[in-house]
């Protein structure tokens, strides 16, 4: 299927990826050709075939509902751009 610039902008918005008009236009052709390649899959008969999400066809196991990690917040927050009182600081959303 052929994509339009607005399709690329829609995906970019969903992915919270900033793209200006020039960039969106640049991706239209690439993405259209990739999707054209992907469209070959429609020719495969998959009636009655269950999707395979795990390559070993394994079921995701559950672990016991117990605390396994110790609190290392201060250490981990050393990587954050800005923190205050144990919280991550981001731009104000509601004035």
């Amino acid at each position: 299927m052929a994509l339009e610039p607005q399709d690329v902008q829609r995906a970019a918005h969903l992915a919270r990826l900033g793209l200006d008009e020039t960039e969106a236009n640049r991706y239209v052709d690439d993405l259209t050709r990739i999707l054209k390649m992907v469209d070959q899959l429609q020719a495969v008969d998959t009636d009655g075939v269950a999707p395979l999400a795990h390559p070993l066809d394994a079921t995701q196991r559950l672990r016991a509902d117990e605390v396994t990690e110790t609190d290392q917040r201060e250490r981990f927050q050393q990587n954050a751009p800005a923190v205050e009182s144990g919280l991550y600081l981001v731009p104000r959303v509601v004035e």
């Binding site: 994509l3 399709d7 690329v8 829609r10 995906a11 970019a12 969903l14 992915a15 919270r16 990826l17 900033g18 793209l19 991706y27 690439d30 993405l31 050709r33 990739i34 999707l35 390649m37 992907v38 469209d39 070959q40 899959l41 429609q42 495969v44 998959t46 075939v49 269950a50 999707p51 395979l52 999400a53 795990h54 390559p55 070993l56 066809d57 394994a58 995701q60 196991r61 672990r63 396994t68 290392q72 250490r75 981990f76 050393q78 990587n79 954050a80 751009p81 991550y88 981001v90 731009p91 104000r92 959303v93």
Partner: protein, 486 residues
Amino acid sequence: MHDMTLTELARALEAGEFTSRQLTESLLARIERLDGELNSFISVTAEQALAAADAADAARARGEAGPLTGLPLALKDIFCTQDVKTSCGSKMLDNFVAPYDAHVVEKLKAAGTVSLGKTNMDEFAMGSSNENSHYGPVKNPWDLAAVPGGSSGGSAAAVAAGLVPAALGTDTGGSIRQPAAFCGITGLKPTYGRVSRYGMVAYASSLDQGGPMARTAEDCALLLSAIAGHDLRDSTSVARGVPDYRAELGASLSGLKIGLPKEYFGDGLDPAVETAIREAVKVYESLGATVQEVSLPHTHHAIPAYYVIAPAEASSNLSRFDGVRFGHRCDAPTDLEDLYKRSRAEGFGDEVKRRILIGTHTLSEGFFDAYYKKAQQVRRLIRQDFMDAFEEVDVLMGPSTPTPAFDLGANKDPVSMYLQDIYTIAINLAGIPGISVPAGNIDGRPVGLQILGPHFAESQLLNVAHQFQQVTDWHQQRPAFGKENA
């Protein structure tokens, strides 16, 4: 020292021919001299390496050395390493110093290895040429005009150039085997779940798998024994005992049944590569193996299926890089949405953005069933092809790549680039193991033979590769690059 395998280095350390510190200093000096041209390292951790080497020498002096004690290696910059930058080849993580070690890094440290640094890679492991790194392209030591392959190209180039005897890579669609083939080294992608992904920056979680890259299958066996095993912190890690892979390398190949998938020898395969692969298969026949043609009928659907599944998973995994908690943050954002959008736009490169956009589009309302569900159904058919083939034969063989390494900058079209992984991608979709071994050389650029086995057949694959390396010398050939700087 730089020409020796891990196994040879271990023997020399044991015999006291040199210390781990002397070995480490020698390789660090070689990296200093040569890597400016090669660009195979993102970070060289000389201070930590020398401290680890001293600790290894002390352990040896106390009689506490294991098989890997004091041996140097490098880690693809996708593995989190405590107090060392883990960039994943991206501007997004250029300032990220991991506060913990990946499971495999913990295991290698516990085994007494000496990490010399973190190797260059395609950004977030997306690419087949190592031209997508924020830190610039890596060059192939066999021909500096050629790519080393991706995404573990830094690891492959560093081993091929004799900067380290071994390195860890990761393989989501061929990213260990393809650069191993292009650089003339041995690279193993283990069975999915064999090696923990804890602390390995995620690209496509149902496909990613870490594994060893070295000069020989024997060295890969040594490393795999150290890094494989169950890890409770990775829910996809498989609870299964780890053999001593190196101890299982002696089996005869008499009676081995080899399958040649007819789909791996069709259009698009360089005739010179085909000749090299068929010559390699003849070597196996001389060792007592039998050969028959088999079919993997859904092979040509592997790349389309992969380019739905992998970007879909990538779009989800990479959503965590939002400029809030760690990584790149844009300057002076006006609000939270602006923070997300500009941080991600500035932090990610072109190929990563392309795959995020494809993944987000195919997962979005109205497209999910047509793309994602369909691709996962085709994935089951691809897996079944392999299961059916392994009912008939013990292993499959074919080329690792359709051509030898191509020139830097020669492959600008993304779809053409994706087709470079035509022989490697299906293996990740099916979760089976695969190994690439050097098996030829065309105009100075190496050729890789790919050997595939059923799930958890690593012992057999390593032995099949090892036996080939007992009677051929492709793995002993070295590029001219760096020889004058020995």
